[in-house]
């Protein structure tokens, strides 16, 4: 456990090794600081007092405004002393005190004097102190000296000015940008550190000028860079140039040879930086990746933990996108499972879980079982997440992986860890039908001895949805009813609801459920009794085997089709009166998150947190949103909603993305708009869509957005009609039209009059993949064979010259928009042929399976055999058409 944080002076046990600061008191030290005012300064004594002040500050002690001012004024007197040691201390002390703007004036002249001094060291330190405490106005006065200092012969002075520049760039960019000629000169300096600092500053000054950065990188990669630190910076800037030029240049990747050359540098830091840069290149090929992986593999067996950590961390990242490239390192990685450093061991395990094949799963699980007992919860959660992904990749292994999860569920662990396991089991139950019954039983056993109310209630809720659909719902009742006897009121209430769901869904169980529910009428908690009474009175049949009406089921267990936030707001605004609260008055529009929240990371698959049944929650939300808009209410069932497609570049005035909603005979574009200008209010926002390149579509409705204030996203919609059930494609150009009103930043009020304005957005395409839902199957072979072979269509295609086999595979997957199965989207290194299995549901709810066989024909040409099976031969033909025309 952590040691208590005691200040050194409170720790009086260790008398023999007593501290020179023992018994130090802020008040006493401030008194001592009066020696700074003595006419005859004692430099030694003054240095000691400054050390004490530094000790106090370094221990987190703070001075009040008055104290700080007093010390600061006293310290300024010390400029009179010629003692060099004391002067150095004074510089530190002024920086630590960071005086306010009105106090700075006291030291400015002394520091200016030092800055123009003949003693180089005075100059360097004065620059650092002045830049630390200065504001914009003073900076213009000393700018001339700073520019001189950047090209000073003394490297310490030059470095001081350059590092000051890096700091000042944040506060006074327009001034620092004027120094670029001097900084450019400093980049050529013979002094290694000056070059390092100059390179960092020059890049910061020019980072938005793509051409200038390109030129800088071109010249430096040819010349010599003197320090490994600067070399690392250069590698980073080179990666940036490569990233930005990737879209514009064809052929060999520029600067790749430079990166590869850095893999042979003598400094480990540079080797790593280069290896990392190569692994992070966009669309990196296996040929490019190989040398980087080789050096990283060597570092896996280094004696230094930092190198092992860095190597395994990088390989872990590579394994996410190119698992096959990392398999060569598996043997070295396995030996790291027993590494003393748990961070390294966890990274090794999770990498192995990503790169392992189906046959190695069992062996790996054995190793992990031993490992799990001696790592902390935070690492265990990472492992659980990795195991979940592995299980989804190899569904046939669900038995052993599910057993592993249930075993660790029984062991000791905190809430977050247990929640991660339960979430994983829930996701596996949902995605792998074969795992459902065993998974539910594991959860049942867990709630028999679960100390977390939240998890118990969530599992009970989940059981209520999934349990009645199993072959033998009877067996879950005992576990659920036990909760009514053994748990707290919250869990008991949840158990009553779950029992009622079984009663409503399984008619044969109803009489027995009624017996159990009647017993709950005597519970000592109101909520439990109320729920039992409600269910007994509404389920119907008075305990006989009868069907519960659909409207009752909907009333009791149906989802609330109103966003909870909106309901909460409406209830808060409701004033008690004669008129009862009308739930239909609650708005149904879903407000998207504001900017700040949107940036929050986290795209993990959700377990119990999300609605446990049916399609993902976003589709549900979209469905409700669209059906609440009268213009779109008669479009029928929503088939698919695409991921948002950005229509503006990052950091523009208005951020707009679009979600394509596909219906059988209609397409609705939902434009999510954000106004990023605080001084503007937009009204009557609408997107004018030109569908001249989408002949089969005709606009039928649009819904403008009434008002779009700053940083509060809103939506506008445009709907098109298209031929029923036909996967029509086309290109749409978009123009945002609105009335803009100026907003007074001080009051936040908008002016009355506005001006109409327009803003050009990027084009948008509806493609064939929009008509395909990504739906996986757990066992492709079974699914394939169970489909009628008469509906199979096979043909061969030449895909022409391609960068690699993997690139060709990905292109076809993207074109079809289907779900890759059994990890077949990953192409092994150097392979000349590959089979990829895809599954999906085509518009009209037709299941489709695709078997793609790729082969390299000559050095680069890729040939493909496409076999499609579906429930409808017309759909099989349609898939071939998509490929033929893509």
């Amino acid at each position: 456990m952590a040691q208590p944080l005691v200040k050194k002076d409170d720790d009086r046990d260790d008398e023999a090794d007593y501290s020179p600061f023992m018994g130090i008191e802020k008040g006493a030290v401030l008194q001592e600081a009066r020696v700074f005012n003595d006419p005859q300064l004692d430099p030694r004594r003054c240095s000691q007092v400054i050390t004490k002040l530094l000790y106090l500050l370094n221990q987190g002690e703070t001075f009040t405004k008055v104290e700080a001012t007093e010390v600061f004024f006293a310290v300024t007197k010390l400029f009179q002393s010629k003692d060099i040691g004391l002067r150095r201390m004074v510089y530190v002390m002024i920086k630590e005190l960071s005086p306010s703007a009105d106090e700075v004036i006291i030291v400015t002249s002394s520091l200016m004097k030092d800055m123009t001094s003949k003693t180089d060291m005075y100059r360097a330190n004065a620059i650092r102190v002045l830049c630390r405490i200065t504001d914009g106005t003073l900076l213009t006065q000393i700018e001339r000296y700073l520019k001189q200092a950047i090209v000073d012969k003394n490297p310490v002075v030059a470095s001081a000015a350059l590092v000051s520049g890096i700091h000042l760039l944040q506060t006074n960019p327009e001034i620092v940008k004027r120094w670029s000629n001097e900084v450019q000169e400093a980049v050529q300096s013979r002094a290694a550190l000056v070059q390092f600092h100059a390179l960092a500053l020059l890049h910061q000054i020019r980072q938005n000028d793509r051409l200038a950065v390109n030129k800088l990188v071109s010249s430096l990669t040819k010349g010599s860079v003197r320090s490994p630190l600067a070399q690392c910076l250069l590698i980073r800037y080179t990666s940036q140039v490569i990233r930005e030029s990737a879209n514009t240049q064809a052929g060999d990747r520029p600067f790749y040879d430079f990166l590869e050359g850095c893999l042979r540098h003598k400094a480990e830091m540079v080797i790593f930086e280069a290896a990392r840069a190569i692994t992070e290149l966009n669309g990196v090929t296996s040929r490019e990746l190989t040398p980087a992986i080789t050096v990283l593999q060597l570092f896996l067996s280094s004696s230094k933990p930092v190198l092992r950590f860095a190597a395994v961390r990088t390989l872990n990242k590579v394994a996410m996108t190119h698992p096959m490239a990392v398999t060569n390192c598996n043997i070295d990685m396995e030996s790291l499972i027993s590494d003393q450093n748990r961070s390294i061991a966890t990274l090794a395990i999770t990498t192995l879980l990503k790169t392992g094949n189906e046959s190695s799963v069992d062996r790996l699980m054995k190793q992990i079982t031993n490992f799990m007992s001696d790592i902390a919860d935070e690492f265990k959660i990472v492992v659980v997440d990795a195991i979940r992904s592995l299980c989804l990749k190899f569904p046939l292994k669900h038995r052993s992986l599910m057993n592993f999860l249930s075993n660790i569920l029984r062991e000791e662990g905190g809430f977050e860890y247990k929640k991660a396991i339960v979430d994983s089991i829930v996701i596996l139950i949902r995605d792998i039908p074969e795992a459902k019954e065993s998974g539910l039983l594991h959860l049942c056993e867990f709630i028999e001895d679960c100390e977390f109310t939240y998890l118990s209630t969530q599992i009970l809720h989940f059981l209520g949805i999934e349990g009645p659909k199993t072959s033998d719902p009877n067996k879950y009742i005992r576990y659920i009813y036990n909760r009514v006897h053994l748990e707290n009121a919250t869990v008991r209430a949840a158990a009553v609801s779950t029992l009622a769901k079984f009663g409503a869904m399984v008619d044969t169980l109803k009489p027995r459920i009624f017996v159990l529910l009647r017993r709950c009428l005597f519970d000592n908690d109101d909520e439990v009794r109320d729920r039992a009474t409600l269910y007994l009175n509404t389920l119907g049949g008075d305990g006989t085997v009868v069907q519960t009406g659909d409207d009752v089921k909907e009333f009791l267990f149906g989802s609330l089709d109103i966003p909870l936030v909106n309901l909460e707001n409406s209830l808060k605004n409701y004033e008690p009166s004669e008129e009862s609260f009308d739930i239909n008055s609650v708005p149904r529009e879903v407000k998207t998150q504001p900017l700040a929240e949107k940036k929050a990371p986290g795209k993990k698959p959700t377990g119990l947190g999300a609605p446990p049944a049916g399609p993902p929650s976003t589709v549900d939300a979209y469905d409700k949103l669209l059906s609440s808009i009268p213009e779109f209410a008669n479009f029928g069932k929503l088939f698919k909603s695409s991921a948002p497609v950005e229509l503006t570049e990052a950091e523009t005035e208005y951020a707009v993305n679009v979600v394509k909603h596909i219906f059988d005979g209609h397409v609705v574009f939902q434009y999510n708009c954000t106004n990023t200008i605080p001084e503007q209010l937009l009204e009557n926002v609408i997107v004018i869509v030109d569908a001249s390149e989408a002949e089969e579509f005709s606009e039928v409705a649009s819904k403008p957005l009434r008002s779009l204030p700053y940083d509060s996203p809103g939506q506008t919609f445009v709907a098109f009609e298209k031929p029923e059930g036909i996967p029509a494609v086309g290109k749409f150009s978009n123009m945002l039209r609105f009335i803009v009103k100026e907003v007074d930043p001080s009051t936040g009020e908008a002016e009355d009059d506005g001006v109409e304005d327009e803003y050009q957005l990027e084009e948008l395409e509806v493609v064939a993949a929009d008509y395909m839902l990504k739906v996986g199957v757990s066992n492709f072979r079974n699914a394939w064979e169970s489909m009628d072979a008469d509906c199979e269509r096979v043909d061969e295609y030449g895909l022409g010259p391609r960068e690699s086999l993997a690139e060709a595979v990905n292109a076809v997957i993207d074109l079809l928009g289907m779900q890759p199965c059994e990890g077949t989207e990953v192409v092994p290194n150097n392979s000349r042929s590959h089979t990829c299995l895809l599954s999906g549901v085509y518009i009209g709810n037709v299941k489709v399976l695709v078997r793609l066989q790729f082969g390299l024909d000559g050095p680069k040409d890729v040939a493909m055999k496409l076999a499609v099976r579906s429930e409808d031969e017309a759909v099989s033909d349609a898939i071939h058409e998509i490929v033929a025309s893509g």
Partner: protein, 149 residues
């Protein structure tokens, strides 16, 4: 950005801390976290043996030097390898200032000098100097040897 440099004694008492870009209300959390990390892992560690950890997007490199434990926290470009470099500069400068690997007492005796060394090494979260000989001269306000450049 070098977010924190923290030196504690072997019992976990803070001797010196410098934070950059960490709000004061989060500092206690960092202190506790780092000291716990040391208590869990540094027992029986060899002198100057480097340890590494990562917490979200932040890297930590830490070590034992004589009677004190040193922790450095960095993010972005200051990843585990850059921090190793910084740690090397800090340990060699402290040894230089103290004449050897310091006991806790010796560290406190040379406290002022060590503060100056750190001031030369890190400035508001940016690495400035990396050579111990040069740092030794700079804290005495002497220019570096021309041969060192």
């Amino acid at each position: 950005m070098l977010m924190a440099i923290l030196v504690s004694n072997s019992a976990g008492n803070i001797l010196l801390e410098r934070f950059n870009g960490i709000p004061s209300e989060e500092r206690l959390h960092w202190r506790t976290f780092l000291v716990k990390l040391g208590a869990d892992n540094l027992k029986g560690a060899r002198n100057e043996e480097l340890f590494v950890a990562s917490q979200k997007s932040v890297y930590i490199v830490y070590t034992v030097l004589g009677g004190v434990c040193i922790y450095i926290v960095g993010k972005d470009e200051y990843d585990e390898l850059a921090l190793t470099e910084v740690m090397f500069v800090i340990t060699s400068s402290i040894k230089d200032a103290c004449g050897k690997s310091p006991s806790e007492r010796l560290f406190l005796d040379k406290y002022g000098k060590i503060c100056l060394c750190l001031d030369e090494i890190v400035w508001q979260g940016i690495l400035e100097n990396t050579e111990k000989d040069r740092i030794r001269r700079l804290i005495g306000l002497k220019p570096p040897n021309p041969t060192e450049i």
